[in-house]
Symmetry: C2
Subunit: 217 residues, 2 copies
């Protein structure tokens, strides 16, 4: 459950420190339209990913697991003005399909996966406070032991959540912004041609987990 200690060579955005930042677990109160104090959110997550393996086939795989996300101090206490920077410091999601076997998705320790929450430049029209946009650039490692493969993305997977009314956006649906195909490379031969492609990713943020629930995943 500790964060990776390898220093990443690729940093997709703004680093956020974890030192002295408290973990937030099930039971915490989330106040809508209010920028929260810094924290490390321990949240459930589920997703449905589609993989295309050239010459072999296309597979849709449901995943379940958790993420741990460190949040920065908001840049303002006023919801509309606040920007919050995030780093995905840990992820474990497990899925299964017959052809690919069990797939475990973790963070690629060579990448710092970064994100932010801010008021978009193209906000929804409407009265009252504006919903925010959440985005995260992720470097993942897909372990597929049945195929003897460990695959990584070299372009980040951009995960987005719209209509964010509270931080964290627990319970919100999100999407991987994949245009047609995102190449996945063998971690042992990252400069060779892609082994597979991620062609679609839809996810739902879960709620806060207890430490026991996290440990059980």
């Amino acid at each position: 459950m500790s964060a990776p200690t390898q220093k990443p060579s690729v940093v997709y955005g703004r680093p956020v420190g974890t030192e002295g930042v408290p973990n937030v677990y099930a039971g915490a109160t989330v106040v809508p339209w209010t920028p929260p104090d810094p924290g490390i959110d321990n949240l459930g997550i589920s997703s449905v990913d589609a993989f295309a393996v050239p010459g072999v086939g296309e597979y849709t795989v449901p995943f379940d697991g958790y993420v741990r996300v460190v949040r920065s101090d908001p840049t303002s206490r006023i919801w509309h003005d606040a920007e919050v920077y995030t780093n995905l410091i840990e992820m474990k999601m497990v899925g299964h399909c017959e052809e690919l076997g069990t797939i475990t998705v973790r963070l690629n320790p060579d990448c710092l996966s970064t994100g932010q929450i801010r008021t978009p430049f193209d906000p929804y029209a409407g009265e009252g406070p504006s919903a925010k946009a959440c985005r995260m650039a992720v470097g993942a490692l897909f372990e597929m032991p049945k195929l003897g493969l460990r695959l990584v993305n070299k372009e980040p997977i951009i995960l987005t959540i719209d209509d964010v009314r509270q931080i964290p956006p627990a319970g919100s649906p999100g999407k991987g912004q994949i245009y047609r195909m995102l190449p996945l490379h063998d971690i042992r031969r990252p400069d060779d041609q892609p082994i597979a492609y991620l062609t679609s990713l839809r996810f739902t943020m879960g709620g806060y987990l207890t430490p026991d629930e996290l440990a059980a995943i």
Copy 2:
């Protein structure tokens, strides 16, 4: 007009060597539905980019310039089966708007900008040969001397061209796959918060240029 010599620390896809690969200029013949021999394509390009600067404003800027793209040997001589890997080895685009002044876009030498052309997994239905999909992950450097800024993207800009019937897809319209906002960071303080955002990018690949045309840009 030489390629950058700094070794990039970030490689977005598959590297393609340039040694012994001939330059291709105006006058070259392009055969539709036919994978070509390797080459370095010297092509015109134009684009319209939108920038948002928080607290300041949003600006739409037209750019013109050139790209130099090295293409790999196709993996097959059969159009449908062929994959072609590409690296963007040089780019210069110049744009202007009153508020931001003259903007020059070049490659970020710290990134290897990579791409590929292949038959998509979600092809258009139809008779005859399938059109291919072209994608390129780009690390760019936006120089804005009027503002004293040199901005870089830390997530790649994903440029895509659909309905590719010939290689290179000269004359085709393309799009930057930007979901709402792509952060741009000050190259001197890349771990600080973004200075600006790219919110939209539409481009059109031009045709082959002559060496003189290239030198004049």
